[in-house]
Symmetry: D3
Subunit: 276 residues, 6 copies
């Protein structure tokens, strides 16, 4: 999982920037991310497991911290598209791979990573388009750090794992949804594990466009991305950072606390189980 | 520096906690609240005056501070339903009972209680369901501290007393509505004493479900409450406290000021009346 | 330690306040504002250039700082209506008149004025009604500091100049729209220079009423204003200041930064142009 | 729209308020608080165990929530003095009485009480004088919610229990000290369990006056209290609430999180002990 | 989408800016301010009444709003020195001139002006040096909006009027002092009308330098000002605005509320007096 | 809805974590950082250039982003000591290496890195001790993100580069100092390029201990670090993150803006120079 330092050259040495024809190493470093880039700098980041929909693991939770940090640091990226593979955006999770979340010592790592991945995602200084190709029911906060969200007709959002495991949805999913659809819809969404369809999400103001199918979705994602490239470089970067600033602050204020009580609720399940 | 855990004993070992079969004293302490609890811990708090719709009084303003404090402290409560009696949620107010609101010395008590009742309502660490059985036109902020709001078809929200009395709606009603439906809808609601129907409130995102009649409403309230009981104890409690935290902070920031200018506007009515 | 109240005299005894029959000087001081006032204190502020729709200039950017400061200080104003002339609310801009926005030394003046005009607009302590008589595509933040926004059927909102010039929309337009329609709709609005029609703006919660034509619009604006006059003086003033407080704070936090990066993006255009 | 003021009657007309000659029930309700009040309304609250220095217990942690709520609600209190008995302000703690703090289920009660006691202490709307009669090494945040702190020459402050138990000092003690002596002194104080003498605390700006002995301390406490009574009633109350507002907000923001990670650190001690 | 820079002309080309040799009108507009400016742009603003120490009046409270607005808008000002006349900085107040502060209708004007004068003072985008030539016991918040405060040996700070009148010190004086010397010293300062000498204020961190006499004071003020002129124009301006931003925000959050409860406390004095 | 805990496996079971005996690659990756670690996990990070005092370069500005990110992610680090080499902590800067800071396009990279390095430094979840072995006159904010600062007798703090270059000190140095010594001392420090000696810094509350010489300094640094190791793992980590949270938030709020106006002031120097 370590990065091969040998191949690195100094940034801006002579300053020939990496061209898109020469791929940075991080494109191939993360098992469950398929990363590609067009010649004009549209980065596509695709969640993937064995060429199919991602099955999210504890290793991903760890990897994504570095992945989004690398993406943020690479100034050859001009716009980013975040999407899923096959029929899911992000909808499967490998519970056992997460480690023993009931052990505070192990949770501490999750606690740190969970905050850091969102700080890194919101440090990406180019516009992010989320192309929701299917259900987004696991870590949907990754989708909502995007600036523009477009979705296929039959996709939907839900927060599946937390209440299914019986633990507090405190990893930032509470924060992004409140920012997106307001406090009251968010509470109902979480307490009842409500499914919000793409159309409802559009009516609620979080999804910008609904497309009929996956082909139309990706076509439109690239169209929007290409249009964004017309915005001058610094303007485009500062728009992203300006727009994401309030969310970044809310995440900083709320996720440390949220993940702490999420961990407590997990530990309590073990304790309670023992007593029973 | 390690703590010797062996020596620890349970807190208040010898003090048998009230079981739900034995009702706490506070259930019968407050004239205009009818409080009951199911065996599994669903607390129902019903506004009531003489078995009919509540006529809100200055004594209620005082009583509710303690009532919601007691409810918050009682850990046998697992979920709370807040509702009204007869055809009103909370729609009648006994003006004279409020005392001389134009006298700053008297208002000071109102100023303190008004802040405290909202801090106490938001210190209740179990999910709150508001079941809006009819018009909520007086102190509708009590309804909106709920997590999930369901309403009968012909109910509506309005802020009746403040502009009718000619005083600033600054007791928190400004804060909860802005949190619920946004700043611009809230301003129109208050400046024009707009009636927002249950259906409109649903479209605006604050009401989660609209039910055809009162029977269906209470049936659904208990269904939702029962579902919430499936969430493990600590998870359920921490979800409530996590979700209510931003509102609690907004109330702390805004209600002291809001009630101060509400009191000033009341006093000015007397002063102006004298001059004329 | 008691104050001797007997000795008090009225403030500015010998300085007769302007009555509404005698117009204050500032009514005629600003080239592109037509200011009138009814006998009962309804102030109408109309954007205008040569009796037609305003063509916004750098001089306006400068003048409006003082204009809204004067309006705020004049306590004979009881309600304010903000509207445009002819078929535009505010939709044309004289680019060259803005000076060399790519020069940081010149931009600094814009940076200061841009913050100050919004602080002054939000220091107006009477309700503001925006009557949107046509497209509001330039500095639409002026419209959104209103409490109640009504619009003619065929009007719309857009942010035209910033992306057309290729610079960051950081002058507060980002802040008011986020407050009005939420973060995600705001990002789409800005990235894509989306036109939001009056009807859509109503569905999004920012426009309160849509009127069929300009005559109906102004008639309704005065009706609403007249109704607001029924609210007692101090109550009316404090409602405005209470409702505008959260926006005022958000503007204070965000516009200094926003205008700084807007200026940077403008300067970069010149630098980049030179390199090419 | 004017309110008919004539019809108003005094709030709770028929309910004679406790006069200071008749002691309220809560004066004698809490085992480890000795509460007395002078005729002119100076309330003295003294920590006490069997007529000597308090040994703080889990029951106190529970009782104080209600105690300070009752004190806050009693408008016959005009100024409050908070002090200790014998040679301690608050310096002994009965570890086992706290219950099993390593069990998240039990900790949850502590989590709620710990937040609530500080919200209640800061809802007391009369000036609070802390008279530090000896070491304040346990829950020194109770002392620091005072407005004016005076101390005997040989007293000192320390945070003894948290690091001695090996747990995070997150119950608000982190918040009050940062407010009092700044972030860097606070960190050193906590990481090293530093003793800060009365004189140092005065140099750091948190202690206002140092007195030679306990007699002089209490004499001065009553002198200061009596002087504060010269401030008119509403002015005195509003000064307290105005001054305590920023701290109250900081506590609301930080203590829920702080107590969560304190609980996690406690639970981890048990888990780690088992593994070893 | 690039902007054509060529067509840009200077803002207000035909409007020759005031040179420092030609004094702006506002220099002589305000009765109790003596305003002068050196050729290199050091603006001196001196509180004055009849060539002697200022006796602060209600008219000043009104005038200063505009005065500091004009100063802030005049870009020929490069550094500002704020000082007093004779032996006072600002230490006398003409109570009756303030109008009937017990009447909410009159207070409303004070409420608005009190907030606005501090927003205008903190909108001055050049460094401000306060030269404290004698006691600053009235509106000392005017001194503390400075960046650098220097004082003569025998000067001191106090808040005299508020508690002498018996009203809440809520006009911002609470905010600036908390920012300057911390929360606990501020509370003691206000509750006891403490005199803080120049030397103590230096030890507390708010006064930067203590000078032996008035001649040395003004000589040093101009030395410091001249040194600040060495900082490039935009750097100097942005340093001021960056440094004052947190205070400006705190004032926006706290002064509306503070002045509201100050007014309430004043009105209550009249009410209470009548009852007695 | 309970989670089956049985199925859980340890996170990254098969991936043996680096033990302290085996050094991670990042220890030797950054040219100007000498990184070592004791067996019990005390990480020493030393600024260095060719075995002597560091000469800070643009490459360091870039490298430190990743360096502190790697340090933060490595859970084998238990406490961190940050110090300098030879007679400087950090006091020399290679201006030309920073690139053309007057070019907004180049500055944009600095703008991003400057924010990110501070977010990464404050994401280090173990206590940080700064051992100030000599002048800290360049990027002293790196020292002040420490929890405990100790310094040799003849060391001092200053902000040398910004005003020497003529640009705004907006890279976070404004934020950490305000947090450390208050707003007024900070303004004087920056406007006058004041040198604050170790002893003064101790009196101001930011330096905890002053040591006679460098040997004593490092001996004490390791003593303090060793003592901190006695704090249980999670308690130690959470103390750091709890204590650094308010600073982290202040940095997030202020540094994006600060670096923007710093860049503007740099660009303006070029523009102004051209005009002259």
């Amino acid at each position: 999982m370590r990065r091969n330092i040998e191949g690195c050259v100094m940034l801006e040495k002579d300053q020939p920037v990496d061209t898109s024809s020469k791929e940075p190493e991080y494109f191939h470093k993360f098992e469950h991310l398929k990363i590609t880039r067009t010649e004009n700098g549209i980065l596509e980041v695709r969640f993937i497991t064995n060429d199919g929909p991602i099955v999210f693991t504890g290793k991903d939770h760890h990897d994504f911290v570095e992945a989004f940090s690398q993406i943020a640091q690479d100034r050859d990226n001009k716009v980013m598209i975040l999407t899923g593979s096959g029929d899911d955006f992000l909808a499967q999770i490998d519970g056992p791979s997460l480690g023993d979340i009931t052990d505070p010592g192990e949770w501490d790592r999750t606690w740190w990573e969970g905050q850091q991945v969102l700080q890194n995602l919101t440090s990406i200084s180019v516009p992010v388009i989320a192309a929701i190709n299917g259900p987004a029911t696991v870590h949907s906060e990754y989708a909502l750090i995007a600036d523009i969200i477009i979705a296929v007709e039959d996709s939907y959002f839900q927060d599946y794992p937390h209440l299914t495991f019986g633990i507090v949805p405190g990893d930032g999913v509470q924060t992004v949804w409140a920012s997106a659809i307001g406090a009251y819809r968010t509470k109902y969404f979480h307490y009842t594990q409500q499914k919000i369809s793409a159309r409802e999400a559009q009516a609620f103001g979080v999804v910008a466009e609904v497309l009929p199918n996956k082909e139309a979705l990706m076509k439109r994602a690239y169209e929007v991305a290409t249009n964004l490239l017309n915005i001058p470089e610094l303007t485009r970067r500062h728009m992203r950072m300006m727009f994401v600033a309030p969310l970044r602050k809310a995440l900083l204020e709320q996720v440390g606390y949220g993940l702490a009580v999420e961990g407590i609720s997990a530990t309590d399940l073990r304790m309670t189980a023992k007593k029973e």
